[in-house]
């Protein structure tokens, strides 16, 4: 049984007041997310990521198609007992404290008063909300609300967790903490399905990813299958090299591209056909000093840009 399964999931809206025209928010999404995996749902802004997640939570209804969580239709209220959801840019009740919000959510899941309090305290510790937990939520920053949003999604110890842009509004430290939290959740056996347009998060966390663009699925699979991890060249950073020497190296075919990076240093891109030792030997005789040498691989970003660029842009219906 898959954690999440969609079949031909489609959502069309009518946009415009006087002469409403149909708009394709999502078209024919068929996807399986296996239990226990961290699955990245990637795409640029407006690609259909949030639409998909809202369809899974039944905040919107599909025009056609079908979605299941843990083998049950998403309309089944019982399945929501086993799911946690963080909406994009979450917002809560101004006059509740973080503690009270989590206790309220606990009450909706049927936990008794002491169990609610204990869960709220544990989860607020886990997402790094300290003494602020007794402040009204209207005084919270965006990043703190994001942390509270993550905590409220975990109140019921969910088996399937759906996060919409979980890193949004977080500082670098917060991003790292949430990444670590996601990995802890995975280690506990949870399935984490999260949307993001930050590819570094997907590279750091996901076993598999799907890329949506223009409301359609552009690619899905394991990162290693989607992205060619083979070395496609070398990046050599050297210091103490003059512009003439750089031009000579380019003329000799040792260097494909050279970028000045300041302090007299250059980042040189070498083709795969040139052994880096040979290029380095040539350059050091011209007075260059080695700063760093790294292999160049295709990144998820390269792949992403290619997929998104190839997606159809017209989202109206005839």
């Amino acid at each position: 049984m898959d954690a999440i399964r969609t079949e031909g999931l489609t959502k069309h809206y009518r946009v415009g007041f006087w002469r409403p025209r149909p708009y394709v928010a999502l078209e024919g999404l068929t996807l399986e997310v296996r239990q226990g995996e961290v699955f990245g749902f990637l795409g640029p802004n407006g690609a259909g990521k949030t639409t998909t997640l809202k369809l899974l939570m039944q905040l919107i209804y599909p025009t056609s198609g079908h979605a299941e969580i843990l083998g049950r239709p998403v309309g089944d209220a019982a399945v929501r007992r086993r799911v946690g959801y963080l909406p994009e840019n979450p917002s809560f009740y101004d006059y509740l404290t973080a503690e009270e919000l989590l206790e309220y959510v606990g009450a909706l899941f049927g936990y008794g008063p002491s169990a609610r309090r204990a869960r709220a305290a544990r989860l607020l510790d886990e997402v790094g909300i300290g003494a602020e937990r007794r402040l009204h939520l209207r005084k919270f920053s965006k990043g703190m609300l994001q942390r509270v949003g993550i905590a409220q999604a975990l109140v019921n110890d969910p088996e399937v967790i759906v996060f919409d842009e979980p890193m949004s509004g977080l500082d670098p430290l917060g991003r790292r903490e949430i990444r670590e939290l996601v990995l802890r959740l995975r280690d506990r056996g949870c399935t984490v399905f999260f949307s993001s347009h930050v590819l570094a998060d997907a590279e750091a966390l996901c076993s598999r990813v799907a890329i949506v663009a223009g409301g359609r699925l552009a690619a899905v699979g394991q990162l290693a299958d989607l992205v060619a991890f083979q070395v496609r060249g070398w990046e050599l950073v050297v210091a103490g090299l003059g512009p003439e020497a750089v031009e000579r190296a380019k003329g000799a075919g040792l260097v494909m591209r050279a970028t000045a990076v300041g302090d007299g240093r250059y980042a040189l891109e070498l083709p795969l056909s040139v052994a880096p030792e040979r290029a380095l030997a040539e350059l050091t005789t011209g007075g260059a000093r080695l700063v760093s040498l790294n292999p160049l691989r295709e990144t998820l970003e390269d792949f992403f840009v290619r997929q998104v660029g190839a997606a159809p842009r017209d989202r109206g219906l005839d």
Partner: protein, 261 residues
């Protein structure tokens, strides 16, 4: 029921912390100030004026709370997106609507109870100043009871509009219905003032469909200590309950179909 209760308590908590109960201070100041002035001006000739004023103030302050909180009950949750995380929990959409309604009803009941207690405190004070005036009359509670029912009906109307329209439009429509509902009897007798039978039939139809708020207004009878039959109270209460139930059913149906884009 458990979920509806939790949603209701949350609405009540938010309303109280959002300083909704501050209106009670304004109410108390108005009533105490007015009774002092009346005591000075009429030398206790007419305690009825303070009874009139007290009941009218309870109805007006209650109306303001019912409309201005009612119109935002659902709209605010959608606009501020708090509904997204809430509806992802094991809560059905109808439970959300009924919980919201129950929460505001609770807020109103507490408000009216406190206002009524303050009202009777002022009447008790007047009774000491003007013995034999019959100031502390328990019969006034019948008028308060129908005011409560009227406010619950206004709340249901505001909530119904709140499920699909903006707060401004909801407020305009709710106040509009409230005003029309107080002049409902004119619609029934419209044929007396128009020639067109079609217009008269339309007015008669509207009379039956629109809420008849005038039916809930027994303030004059209560103040004048005129008899109000028990059967009238029961029939009006039944009318109010059925109308509220229909409005809530309508709100649930609209809300159940909504996409939260």
């Amino acid at each position: 029921m458990r979920v509806i209760g939790h949603v209701a308590v949350n609405v009540f908590k938010e309303s109280v912390r959002d300083r909704v109960l501050y209106n009670l201070v304004a109410f108390a100041a108005l009533l105490i100030g007015a009774s002092y002035l009346i005591g000075q001006l009429t030398a206790g000739q007419d305690v009825k004026i303070i009874k009139d004023l007290g009941l009218a103030a309870i109805a007006t302050f209650g109306l303001l709370i019912a409309v201005f909180i009612g119109i935002g009950l659902v709209w605010n949750e959608v606009e501020r997106r708090s509904i997204y995380s809430l509806l992802s929990k094991p809560i059905r959409r109808y439970e959300f609507i009924l919980g919201k309604y129950a929460g505001l009803a609770l807020t109103l009941l507490v408000n009216v109870a406190i206002m009524t207690a303050a009202f009777y405190a002022v009447l008790a004070y007047l009774a000491t100043q003007f013995p034999g005036s019959g100031a502390v009359d328990p019969g006034l509670l019948r008028a308060v009871a129908l005011i409560v029912l009227e406010l619950l009906l206004v709340t249901a109307i505001a909530l119904f509009f709140s499920t699909f329209s903006s707060p401004f439009l909801s407020a305009a429509l709710t106040f509009g219905l409230w005003v029309i509902g107080h002049f409902n009897a004119d619609l029934r007798n419209f044929e007396a003032v128009v020639q067109s039978p079609a217009a008269a039939r339309l007015a008669r139809g509207l009379y039956y469909v629109l809420p008849n708020f005038a039916a809930f207004d027994i303030k004059t009878q209560a103040v004048q200590a005129l008899p109000v039959p028990g059967s009238y109270l029961v029939a009006t209460a039944l009318y109010g309950v059925v109308y509220i139930a229909l409005l809530l059913a309508g709100a649930v149906m609209v809300f159940a179909r909504r996409d939260f884009k």
